[in-house]
Each structure stands twice: as structure tokens, then as C-alpha cells.
């Protein structure tokens, strides 16, 4: 019995080709990556303009906002929760940033203020979910309305424009030939990757989604980490809000409507289990890219936006179907 470990290792060596493939297929990003590659190749075949550097760079930039929001969403979904308020929080924090700059604050401080607003709002969500034990979908549905309302109240319903020139860098600038939103996105993903894969916090986020009660009884302060997850989600929404505000050079109270749904789609297409516990942040990036490539390709083909909605919905259904049959085996 002592030798069980070694023995099984030996037998594995025999069919290592098979097990290698099997292990690959076990990876949460196997199917997302496959899907992405298929869609990417299909689009390249259908459109001559698709594979140009210019176009691909634009796709990456268009994707960045959704991809950033989807980071917080991934964390929330990994714990078995969800955050519907992200689009509205994005609008609220974006308009606050714009408002602060109009009050004469330098962009750096305005950005800081905006992150604080997003974080506080997320922490509020987290408090209701973790400490008041309310279902996340209801809590964030309610706070979605509140955040949107506050953004509209704050701005009186009008965009705040005339922002300082410096501020445009984050949305319109370039660094070493790469558009700024892409750089922001990459930084956010690197940080998220490290947190989720290299730190205890990440392990707890997965554990809570895997079995919250067992995690709690093991002595992990589950409430604290759930609160943290929603705070992070608020912060990533705020980051997306800054980038979009900078891109538009105005604080728009109506921006981000429906973005929560795109973010959820990216997370789910990225192979994260909607019930929590399993998934990967890289998958979310792939999921967001998949949506972006699809959007872009269909646009280039001149497919009507109405039809595009149907196609996107169908692809999401298909993706979930594939991941479902993988889980249930």
C-alpha cells in the first residue's frame, strides 16, 4: 500500500501520450482556446481585411473594456456569485472621475477617487452578500439600479465633457506602439493572474466556489474574502470606466448599459463554471477575445447587428453545452 503512489506513476508512463492529451482536455481553457482558434481562422478566411495589424489591434482595443470588467466578474463567479452592477458602477465611477477633473483635480487624483468609488460600491455589494447573506444576483441587481441612478443624479443626465487633454492618454494614447487600453488590460490580467494562481487569496476564491461550508469550517474567513471579491469587481469596473471615459473624453452617465451581460458571456465562454469553483482568468481573456473577434468579423462581413445578436447568443449556448457535457462525464 505504501507503494501506491509510485506504482500508478509507472503505469501512467505507458500511455503518456493519451494522458497528456487527457490532461490537456481537463484544463479549463482547452475548449475556449479551441473555440477561439476556430472562430479566428474562420474570420481570417472569410475576410481579407481581418488579418491586418491595424484591424487586429483595433479588435484588441475594443475588447479591452469588456475584458477588464470580466476580471472582476470572473472572481465573483468563481466564488459561486455574480455581479450585475458592473456596467452601472463603471458609469458612476467614470462620471465621478470626470466630475472631479472638472472641479480642477489633476487626472491622477481623479482616477484615484474613481477607483475608491468603484471599490466602495463593490464593498457595499460584498457586505450585503457576505455579511447579510443575501443572494448576489438580487443584491447586485438592486445596486445596479442604484449606481445608474446615482450617475444620472450626479450628472443631471448630461455628459460631462471638456476634460483635460492629459487624461486622453489612457483611452487614446499609445505606448511603444500599443494602444493604451490594451496595456491597461494586460496589466489588469497579470495582476489578476498572480492573485488567482499564486496567492492564498486566489486559492480561497476557488475554494469558496468549490464548497463554501467546507472552506469556512477549515478556518478560512470566508466572509472577508467574499467581500474582497466584490470589492475587486467594483475596482475593475472603475478601471474600465476610466479607460472608456478617457477614450470618449467625457463622463457619460449612460455608458456601460448591458456590459454586465457581455462580461458574463466572456467569463462563461472562457470556461469558468457558472456554479463557481472552476475556471481560469486566462480563459476569460480568451472568451472576451472570442466575442471581440466575432463582433469584428461579422461587422466586416456587413452582417446586420440584429443578426449578430442571434449569432452571439447561439455561440454562447453552444459553448455552455460543450462545457456541460465535459463536466457531467
Amino acid at each position: 500500500m505504501n507503494n501506491t503512489l509510485q506504482n500508478t506513476n509507472k503505469t501512467q508512463g505507458k500511455h503518456s501520450m493519451n494522458t497528456q492529451l487527457a490532461r490537456w482536455r481537463q484544463s479549463p481553457i482547452f475548449y475556449p482556446l479551441l473555440g477561439f482558434i476556430v472562430i479566428f481562422i474562420a474570420m481570417a478566411f472569410v475576410n481579407d481585411n481581418f488579418l491586418t495589424t491595424n484591424n487586429l489591434s483595433n479588435v484588441a482595443r475594443q475588447v479591452s473594456i469588456n475584458a477588464i470588467i470580466a476580471v472582476g466578474m470572473t472572481c465573483a463567479i468563481l466564488t459561486g456569485g455574480i455581479d450585475l452592477s458592473v456596467g452601472a458602477v463603471m458609469a458612476l465611477s467614470g462620471t465621478v472621475a470626470a466630475g472631479l477633473m472638472m472641479m480642477g483635480l489633476p487626472p491622477e487624483l481623479a482616477i484615484l477617487g474613481c477607483l475608491i468609488v468603484g471599490g466602495l460600491f463593490g464593498a457595499g455589494n460584498g457586505a450585503f452578500v457576505a455579511y447579510a447573506k443575501m443572494p448576489p444576483i438580487i443584491v447586485t441587481l438592486a445596486t445596479m439600479g442604484i449606481a445608474r441612478g446615482l450617475a444620472l443624479i450626479y450628472t443631471g443626465g448630461y455628459p460631462i465633457s471638456g476634460l483635460p487633454k492629459d487624461f486622453s492618454f489612457l483611452g487614446r494614447g499609445e505606448f511603444m506602439g500599443i494602444q493604451s487600453p490594451i496595456i491597461v488590460m494586460i496589466i489588469v490580467y497579470i495582476i489578476a493572474f498572480v492573485i488567482l494562481n499564486k496567492t492564498p487569496i486566489g486559492r480561497y476564491i476557488y475554494a469558496i466556489g468549490g464548497n463554501e461550508e467546507a472552506t469556512r469550517l477549515s478556518g478560512v474567513r470566508v466572509k472577508r474574502y467574499k467581500m474582497l471579491v466584490y470589492t475587486l469587481s467594483g475596482v475593475t469596473a472603475a478601471i474600465a470606466g476610466i479607460v472608456l471615459t478617457s477614450r470618449l473624453m467625457s463622463g457619460q452617465p449612460n455608458m456601460g448599459v448591458g456590459f454586465e451581460l457581455d462580461a458574463i458571456a466572456a467569463v462563461v465562454l472562457g470556461g469558468t463554471a457558472i456554479a463557481g469553483g472552476r475556471g481560469a482568468i486566462i480563459g476569460t481573456l480568451i472568451g472576451a477575445m472570442m466575442l471581440g473577434v466575432l463582433n469584428n468579423g461579422l461587422n466586416l462581413m456587413g452582417v446586420s447587428p440584429y443578426v449578430q445578436n442571434v449569432i452571439k447568443g447561439g455561440i454562447i449556448l453552444l459553448a455552455i453545452y460543450i462545457s456541460r457535457s465535459r463536466d457531467s462525464k
Binding site: M1, L5, T8, N9, T19, L217, S218, V220, R221, G277
Partner: protein, 502 residues
């Protein structure tokens, strides 16, 4: 012998890297009770799942009344007359027993509306046949475990099951409830129902079964008539080696050891009994009592997993709050919960991740990264220490057998330098060999100075391993026994309220 009721021929089933069943053959006559015996991971559960159509065998045949059968799914199996009572019940918690029994085949009138009265009457008749009285209006979640099991059996009978498989049905029952179950089984036997009974309790097998099939490593290793065999012979067949007395010797002179936990008062709710107890260094304190006597509740209240009305605890003479499991962990108290799957383990996680979940700080560098190599090395050592049978540290815990899962939970706390461990039903659903290992681990811990509270419904276990025993009755510690008083009779006397045992 022309055709038995149920016959399995050369059934094999493989999973990636694991031969779960190979060349499994077995037959069952009507009116026969067949015991299926084997260590955890021997293939009993897989066999059951093949039998009820959840798994499809890779090769082999199933015959019922001599006719070959293929079960593509659970429904096929039910139609063929197979009823399975799983360890984890498949009842819908917030429906009552009638609704559960008729779930999926409700009796309706021409308008498609349910004929409630008729279903109720039939359910009443079923429970009468079983000789049990059950509140038909209560959601099953509010019934006792035993009652839920009776509902499961009634449900199977309502489907005209002729073959009944009972997967460790007595694991959660009190002795008198188990006796009741056996009465029901004998009654069904006389009605010609063939039964496969899975249990780790030898007395039960000898009390109720006609024949015994022993499984090891997915193969039938031997078969015996209950009349002509002995416990020793069976155990040897199961584990392939002789098992000595499974309880390690107790070490004495605990009375003068320092008090680690002094629970001066724990009151779960207003108007419930106020309990107090002491736990000394290096002792095993048994919490004995009938199922539902409030042992788990007290333990959960102690560590702050559930809120309590009033609590005064001292550890090493210093008052502590223990308002959450995390706070208890900091104070050096860990718990191995009663239900491994729902409270103990994170099933989609690997063995490694499950063990290190509450001790990541040990492997975390100053900048907050987990040193994964350090973590893996440590966990591999622990896995060997508790002897988890698995391909490796990265195996998913959900795929392990019950005994191995329990060892993973134990390893989690071994990884932590806890001073107090609470074992809640540590050997439930675990085979003889693994039980002895777990007892040895527990005794080994006490020799290192760890104090243990063990909640157990198995009297031999309580008697065999506890230095002292707190006996619970209806939420109250009615007596604490020590020394020679730690015996079955004394415990039962207090647990049942003075009435002498047997």
C-alpha cells in the same frame, strides 16, 4: 438452478487510470439477502452504479429472471424492478413524503390535476406495510435520517422493486432504528424481494444476511454462507491480511494533565440546557449519545461555526471568544465535520489543495506568493503518512473513496499544529482496515499532546478509544464517565435515560 432473480456476468468497468471493476460476477435469488462486503474503494459503489444504469459497463452482462438487460439509464433499471437506497438520499428536501414517493409519476385525473387523496392513501398503505408512522405533511428535510430512509424504501417499493439495494443503510441509524430496518427487511424477504445489503458492520451482516460476497480491488474475492463463516475469515478476505485488535492501547494518568479547554457554559439557544465540560491535554473525550442528542450542535457551537445563545470558554485558563471557525483555528482548534462531502472537502479541488487550504501561510513567501514546490513536497509527505490511496497529490478529491477522503481531511489537520481536534463521526462509512488506521492516527496525536473530542454513534468505537465519555441526552451532557465506567452498558444507560440496556 435455472435462473436467479439477478445475475451479473463478468462485468468490467474502467476509469482513466483505474480499474474499478473487473470480471465481476454475482447472483441473487428472490427472497435472498446478499451482503456485499469490501474495503472502501473495493468497487461496491461502482457496482451499484452499473446496476442502476448510471454507469455503463465496458463489458459483461446483466440478467434479470434470466433475460439479458441493458440499462442505458436509471429509468431502465427502475423499470426492470431495481430499487436502490443510496447513502446520500435522493429525496427532495422541501417536498413531503407523499410527494417524494410519487415524484415523476403523480396520479392525476383527466384534467391533469393531482389526486392527492389517492396518493396519500397509497403512501399510508406503504408505510403500514413497513410498520412505520411518518408525518405525511412534514417536508422530508424535517424528518429524522431514519425516517428519510424509510421514505426512500417506501419509494422503491411503490415502484414495485423486486431487487432492493441498500448502500450502508444503517450508517446513520441508532441501534433501535437499525433493528426496525431489519424487521422491514425480513418482511420484504418473506414477500420475495431480493436484497443486496452493503454494510461495514459484521454483526448486522450476520444478523440479517444469507450469503456474503467479498470484493477487493474490483473483483469478487470470495463468497460464503453466513452460517458457515466467521468475522475473522471475512476480514481477512477483505483486506488480504490479518487485522489485530483495531483499538490501540489507551495511555493512562490523564486526570492530572492540565486542562486545555474549560467550557464553563455553552447554551445553544435560550431555554436549552447549559452544558459544561473540560478537555485535558492528550486525552480523547468521547461525545456519546443517540443520533440527534445534540453532540454535533454543541461542537459546532463551541468552535463558533453556528451562533450560540451564551458561551463561556477558557483555554489554558484564559477566556477566549471562538466566534468563528477561523478564530478557533487561531486558538488551535480544528474540526473534521460529520459530512465529508458537504462540510469537509472541496470536491473539485485536488488532494493537495484540500490539505493546504487552511495552512497556506506556511508556504507563502514574504511577497504573498505560494511556494508551490514547497507546498507539494509537504503534501506528498502527508499523503504517505496517512496512506491515501490515489494516483497522486493532484488527484481530484471528488473521485476518491470515502475512506481516502476522510484521510485527506485528517491530513489537513495534521498539517496544522492544532492543540485540539474535534472528530465528528470519524469512521462513518469507512471499512475495517482504514478504521484501525484512523484510530492509530488519533492515538498518535494524543501522544503528541493533542486533545481530541470524538463524536461517535458507534458504541464499540466510543468505548474502545475514549479516555472519558460525555454522554448526551436531548441536548444535555447527563454524565461524564471515566476509567472502568467507560463501557457500553453505562453509556447506554445514561443516553437512554436510566433504562437499562438490552
Amino acid at each position: 438452478m435455472n435462473s436467479s432473480l439477478l445475475k451479473l456476468e463478468q462485468i468490467s468497468k474502467n476509469f482513466p487510470g483505474v480499474k474499478a471493476l473487473s470480471d465481476m460476477s454475482l447472483s441473487l435469488d428472490s427472497g435472498e439477502i446478499l451482503a456485499l462486503l469490501g474495503e472502501n474503494g473495493a468497487g461496491k459503489s461502482t457496482l451499484m452504479k452499473v446496476l442502476c444504469g448510471i454507469y455503463q459497463p465496458d463489458s459483461g452482462h446483466i440478467y434479470i429472471d434470466g433475460k439479458p438487460m441493458v440499462f442505458a439509464n436509471y429509468h431502465n433499471a427502475i423499470e426492470a424492478g431495481i430499487g436502490i437506497i443510496f447513502q446520500e438520499f435522493s429525496l427532495i428536501p422541501y417536498l413531503n413524503s407523499v410527494e417524494n414517493i410519487f415524484l415523476g409519476r403523480e396520479v392525476t385525473n383527466r384534467l391533469g390535476l393531482m389526486r392527492t387523496a389517492e396518493m396519500r392513501k397509497e403512501a399510508e398503505a406503504l408505510f403500514e406495510r413497513l410498520g412505520v408512522s411518518i408525518d405525511l405533511d412534514k417536508p422530508v428535510a424535517h424528518l429524522s435520517v431514519a425516517e428519510q430512509q424509510f421514505v426512500e424504501i417506501a419509494k422503491a417499493l411503490a415502484l414495485d422493486a423486486r431487487i432492493l439495494v441498500l448502500d450502508e443503510p444503517t450508517a446513520t441509524l441508532t441501534p433501535s432504528e437499525a433493528e426496525h430496518l431489519f424487521k422491514i427487511m425480513r418482511e420484504l424477504k418473506s414477500q420475495g424481494v431480493g436484497m443486496i445489503f452493503i454494510s461495514h458492520h459484521m454483526e448486522e451482516i450476520f444478523a440479517i444476511c444469507d450469503r456474503i460476497v467479498v470484493l477487493r480491488d474490483g473483483q469478487p474475492i470470495g463468497e460464503a454462507d453466513t452460517q458457515k463463516t466467521s468475522v475473522d475469515e471475512l476480514v481477512e478476505m477483505m483486506v488480504g491480511r490479518k487485522v489485530e485488535s483495531s483499538f490501540p492501547a489507551k495511555n493512562d494518568h490523564k486526570e492530572d494533565h492540565e486542562i486545555v479547554i474549560h467550557a464553563k457554559a455553552i447554551q445553544l439557544e435560550k431555554d436549552t440546557p447549559i452544558n459544561q465540560f473540560e478537555l485535558r491535554k492528550g486525552e480523547i473525550l468521547g461525545f456519546a449519545g443517540l443520533v440527534g442528542s445534540g453532540r454535533t450542535e454543541l461542537a459546532m457551537g463551541l468552535i463558533g461555526a453556528t451562533p450560540v445563545h451564551h458561551k463561556e470558554i477558557e483555554m489554558h485558563g484564559v477566556a477566549v471568544k471562538l466566534d468563528s471557525p477561523a478564530a478557533s483555528l487561531l486558538a488551535g482548534i480544528g474540526i473534521l465535520p460529520e459530512s465529508r462531502k458537504t462540510e469537509g472537502l472541496i470536491l473539485p479541488f485536488s488532494i493537495r489543495e484540500n490539505i493546504s487550504i487552511n495552512n497556506l501561510a506556511k508556504h507563502t513567501s514574504k511577497i504573498g506568493w505560494i511556494d508551490q514546490r514547497d507546498e507539494a513536497d509537504n503534501i506528498t509527505a502527508l499523503i504517505e503518512k496517512v496512506r491515501v490511496k490515489a494516483p497522486g497529490a493532484e488527484s481530484i478529491v471528488g473521485n476518491l473513496s470515502g475512506g481516502n477522503q476522510q484521510k485527506v481531511v485528517i491530513a489537513r489537520w495534521l498539517n496544522h499544529d492544532c492543540r485540539v481536534l474535534i472528530f465528528d463521526e470519524p469512521t462513518r462509512g469507512i471499512d475495517v482496515g482504514a478504521k484501525a488506521e484512523i484510530y492509530r492516527l488519533m492515538r498518535g496525536l494524543t501522544e503528541m499532546g493533542v486533545s481530541i473530542i470524538m463524536i461517535s454513534s458507534e458504541l464499540p468505537e466510543v468505548v474502545g478509544i475514549s479516555d472519558r465519555v460525555a454522554v448526551f441526552k436531548q441536548g444535555e451532557i447527563v454524565q461524564t464517565l471515566s476509567g472502568a465506567d467507560v463501557n457500553s452498558n453505562e453509556i447506554m444507560r445514561y443516553a437512554t435515560g436510566g433504562a437499562s440496556h438490552e
